[in-house]
């Protein structure tokens, strides 16, 4: 009995250490972003907002932030309906090709991102989409589609399809019955899907390295290039803002999911 208790204690300590290893690097940039020196000393000798001012005051960083936000929001708005339609089609389709269609739609998750980037670059170089917002949005849409498919398919599988049949037999057309009967019930997975696409687009760096540039550079692309040269504390400020935004979005998902879980 005693041995198993001390065993539990050791296991607990090990787990706490691993969790610290997971969480400390994510949080460490927060105090550093408020430091008033160039040097990454910890704890910072004095606190200031100078790196946030450097970020907000720089036209190039601001342009990058605008590009990233525009691309991420657009990608979420496009990929979500496309992905929901595809998930619905696969769920209700009986054709033998459905399995393969699904596999093709999952490809962006399976192909290493560097190869995706080279491939997208090849297409854009031929169609003049390099350094364009359209190109960026399309690439983020493509990368986001599997997330929508996974999130929404899981919900559609457990959804009772006969409800929609009832609505249609009562004279509603398919689109209206989907909108009024099905969609409200899979709402939380659709919202999470949109958030996943947004976060994925926010974080996307490798494809942006190849296809975005000039005044249409994304935030992460600029950060990546800056990090190659030196460790600039402005990046700590941007990192903190990105992490805070992600955290808010995750909390949103958890909050929107709860009522569905209770029902």
């Amino acid at each position: 009995m005693k041995r198993s208790a001390s065993g539990k204690l050791v296991l607990g300590a090990v787990v706490v250490l691993i969790l610290l290893f997971l969480i400390v690097p994510v949080l460490i940039v927060v105090p550093l972003s408020f430091s008033d020196t160039r040097f990454m000393t910890f704890p910072p000798p004095a606190y200031s907002l100078r790196w946030y001012e450097a970020f907000v005051g720089s036209p190039t960083w601001m342009a990058a932030a605008r590009t990233t936000l525009t691309a991420s929001v657009s990608a979420a708005l496009i990929a979500t309906p496309l992905g929901v339609a595809a998930a619905y089609g696969i769920q209700n389709g009986t054709h033998w090709s459905m399995r393969y269609v699904r596999l093709v739609l999952m490809l962006p998750l399976m192909v290493p991102i560097i190869i995706v980037a080279v491939g997208v670059f090849f297409v854009y170089a031929r169609t003049g989409l390099v350094n364009s917002m359209t190109g960026l949005v399309l690439a983020d849409t493509m990368l986001g589609l599997p997330y929508v498919l996974i999130s929404v398919s899981a919900d559609l599988r457990t959804f009772d399809q006969t409800q929609e049949m009832v609505a249609r037999s009562l004279g509603m057309n398919r689109l209206r019955s989907f909108m009024t009967v099905t969609l409200p019930q899979i709402r939380s997975s659709v919202i999470s899907a949109a958030v996943f696409v947004f976060i994925q687009a926010l974080d996307e760096t490798v494809v942006a390295l190849f296809v975005s540039g000039g005044d249409k550079q994304t935030l992460t692309r600029r950060m990546f290039v800056a990090l190659r040269d030196e460790i600039d504390p402005t990046i700590a400020a941007i990192s903190t803002l990105l992490t805070a935004l992600t955290l808010c979005l995750i909390v949103t998902i958890v909050v929107t999911r709860r009522p569905a879980a209770r029902a």
Binding site: I18, V29, M110, V111, V118, F224, I231
Partner: protein
């Protein structure tokens, strides 16, 4: 034989109904394909077509050639890159498994509130930008970074260690970034193991260790396989962290592809390397999908 005619009519209407059902199903399938089409078109144009083109490019340059592949399999620089990539992927997968298993076990065994806390601490880094986390490790591991300073002040070392801009730094940062990909599938497998099995094992006289090794561990193996596959495959194609953390000396396959395209404009070489990497990735996915469904492996991502 009046009933014969009636039978015939019945049969005819049954055939009609069957035909109608088939027609309906066909129409239904066409509608569904139409719904899938937009998503499919995006992925075909931006991913499937370029992949086909990459494969073509790797064997065709003003004529059919295997030169690009010959170079991969004979030139030592290429071989070293593939060997290093597999070695690092193997190490990172092993370390994430060793670190991830106890965390997933705790999340599955703890009461709901604590378990939610543990999972939350795994999911937050999971959704934090890869670039941000690589940056954090650069800050922590550099010569004047927090880790070196702490070790110096504790008197453990008297010179700062070279932790960043090398393979060690790359491994540490990659383990950190990929650990959640290991914990989540492990947790989802462990959570399904019924607790009474453990009680049964104990009541039959098994020591906790014995019950763990003979009951729990084998039942968690599907999670181990899913997590290890995911981490290993993500490692094989990892770009950002090795590029920033590696210090430019240790070349991974992803860096080889990017260098060939960006610096040397050698599309043939980049294509062949990409094809070899893709074949490795798909072969692993295929082999694993024979044991556990692909969806389950990708679900965690």
């Amino acid at each position: 034989m009046p009933s014969f005619a009636a039978d015939k009519a019945d049969a005819a209407s049954a055939v009609d109904r069957a035909n109608a059902a088939v027609r309906y199903q066909r129409r239904e399938d066409r509608t569904m394909l139409l719904l899938i089409a937009p998503a499919l078109i995006v992925i075909v144009i931006l991913l499937v077509v370029p992949l086909a083109w990459l494969s073509w490019q790797s064997i065709y340059a003003d004529g059919f050639t295997l030169e690009n592949y010959r170079r991969i399999f004979t030139e030592s620089a290429y071989g070293a890159t593939f060997a290093l990539t597999f070695k690092l992927s193997f190490i990172v997968t092993l370390v994430t498994l060793l670190l991830g298993y106890p965390v997933a076990y705790a999340a599955a065994a703890l009461p709901p509130k604590l378990s939610a806390l543990v999972l939350g601490l795994v999911i937050l880094p999971f959704w934090t930008s890869v670039l941000v986390r690589t940056y954090a490790w650069l800050v922590l591991l550099q010569r004047t970074g927090l880790v070196n300073k702490t070790l110096l002040s504790m008197g453990v070392i008297d010179h700062p260690l070279q932790l960043a801009y090398n393979q060690l730094g790359t491994i540490i940062a990659m383990v950190h970034i990929l650990l959640p990909f290991m914990v989540l599938p492990l947790y989802s497998a462990m959570q399904k193991i019924p607790e009474n099995l453990m009680h049964a094992g104990a009541s039959l006289g098994g020591s906790p260790l014995h019950v763990f090794l003979r009951v729990f561990l084998p039942l968690s193996l599907s999670g181990v396989l899913a997590g290890a596959t995911l981490v290993f495959i993500l490692c094989l194609g990892f770009y950002i962290t090795p590029e920033l953390m590696g210090g430019g000396r240790s070349m991974m396959v992803s860096m080889l592809v990017s260098r060939n395209v960006e610096l040397y404009d050698k599309w043939g070489a980049a294509s062949a390397v990409s094809v070899v990497l893709l074949v490795c990735v798909f072969a692993i996915f295929y082999a694993v999908s024979r044991v556990i469904p692909l969806e389950k492996t990708l679900g965690a991502k």
